[in-house]
Amino acid sequence: MAGADIAFVLICTGLVFIMTPGLAFFYGGLLRKKNIINMMAMCFVSISIVTVAWFIIGYSFAFAPDIGGGFIGGFNFLGLFGVGTDAYPVYSDAIPHLLYMVFQLMFAIITVAIIASPFAERVNFKAFMIFISIWLVIVYSPIAHWVWGDGGWLKALGALDFAGGTVVHINVGFASLAIALVIGPRKGYQKEPMEPSNIPYVLLGMGLLWIGWFGFNGGSALAANSTAVLAMVNTHIAASTSGLIWMIIEYYKTGKFSVLGLATGGLAGLVAITPAAGYVQPWAALIIGAVVAAICYGALTWRSKSKIDESLDAWAVHGWGGIWGAIATGIFASVGATSLITGNSGQVWTQTVGVIVTIVYTFVVTWVIAKVIDKFMGLRASEEEEYVGIDISIHGEKV
């Protein structure tokens, strides 16, 4: 084991942690004043619930040796049994197994927190807590297993996913879509304006997400090395470019320079570069960032005119940003991997398989979980609670 790598991954874990409070502000600021606390509560409670569930079973399902078929891990790491301070060379021989576990835990937390998007302003909080406990175990853990797990089938297939484009972003994007369809739109959706109530919160969140992403992508090298540096540089370039392009597109449409556009674009860039971060050259990061702005801008525009109230656009930004990122990895990968531009045209296809299977799995299974919970306890708050605002009615608090 190496001190430098331990130091690096440990701090990166902290940075990924801070993304979730960051998301609480990013998302919270986009909502109406009466539901800000609830959104923050969903993000913060994700930290607690995912941690406990990961401890008990989530980590084992994702990262214990495969039980056959590459679909899911076994029970070996139940209650973190056997996960100690020695290295576990299957994943890394440079850092303690516990560190790998907690780094991965932070990924699980932020993924689950992003899923708060379609629940915004109308959630039955108790149902949300139950939902995410189940979702973590039967959606997130398996997909993480496929891509990164010991024996996972997508890994075996050769799919490239540097820091979680598939596992985190496509997954959460399409899960959010499924939930949005089950839970239905907010009362007054597209009739009343539902303007963002606190733009500085959005920007604070953006700042924290951005620095967190350095840990997310950089740390995914699992070592303080050149790959980590490359990943971090690419992350920054893609986000910067995407934010700028988004703002400019919007300027041509509205004549205003929207800082929400700048932030949303930056986020899209961060998403898109995630699977590619350690595999591509900086110039490719610039292109990936520029293109994702256009793609997600289109997706978000379409969504916001549709009947689908996927309120904070996890689908448009994480889903579509993730898809483009996965494909782009197949196009541009040139560092420690091959791709279209280095003559391996099959990689795009492999990436596409990963994308499609993930979409189908997460969409279908999430939809079923949501439906079942909705049947038994209702995913939504009562109409009156929704009117008054979730903050007061469910949390007994207000901003």
Binding site: P193, E195, P196, E250, K253, T254, K256, S258, L260, G261, T264, Y297, L300, T301, S304, D313
Partner: protein, 113 residues
């Protein structure tokens, strides 16, 4: 005594205030309201385009004046300083006041204004 209640554009406050002070008005109160009227709403920009906010930020200014003051002059002063000529400039309402008391001194009537 009369109370003048006027709804004006927030950016006009300082001008209106100065104008009124020049006319000898000493006391007034202001608060933030949101209004609906012939102005159709303000366009804001979201993540991918515009949306319209129907309720527009306005300020409500309340000035209680003594009957010794020429109310039309006051109204004109407000108009001069608050007008842009575009919808949304706001309205002035005149309300009767029966009495006025200064808390500090318990004095009553017009003279406290």
């Amino acid at each position: 005594m009369k109370k003048i209640e006027c709804f004006i554009r927030p950016e006009k406050l300082e001008a209106v205030k100065s104008g009124l002070f020049d006319k000898g008005i000493k006391g007034m109160s202001v608060n933030e309201v949101k209004g609906h009227g012939s102005q159709r709403g303000i366009k804001f920009v979201g993540r991918t385009g515009e949306y319209c906010v129907e309720w527009i930020d306005k300020l409500k200014l309340e000035i209680v004046i003594s009957d010794k003051i020429n109310i039309d002059e006051i109204i004109n002063t407000i108009i001069e300083n608050a007008q842009t000529g575009k919808p949304g400039d706001g309205k002035i309402f005149i309300i009767p006041i029966e009495n006025a008391i200064r808390i500090r001194t318990k004095e009553k009537g017009e003279d406290i204004l």
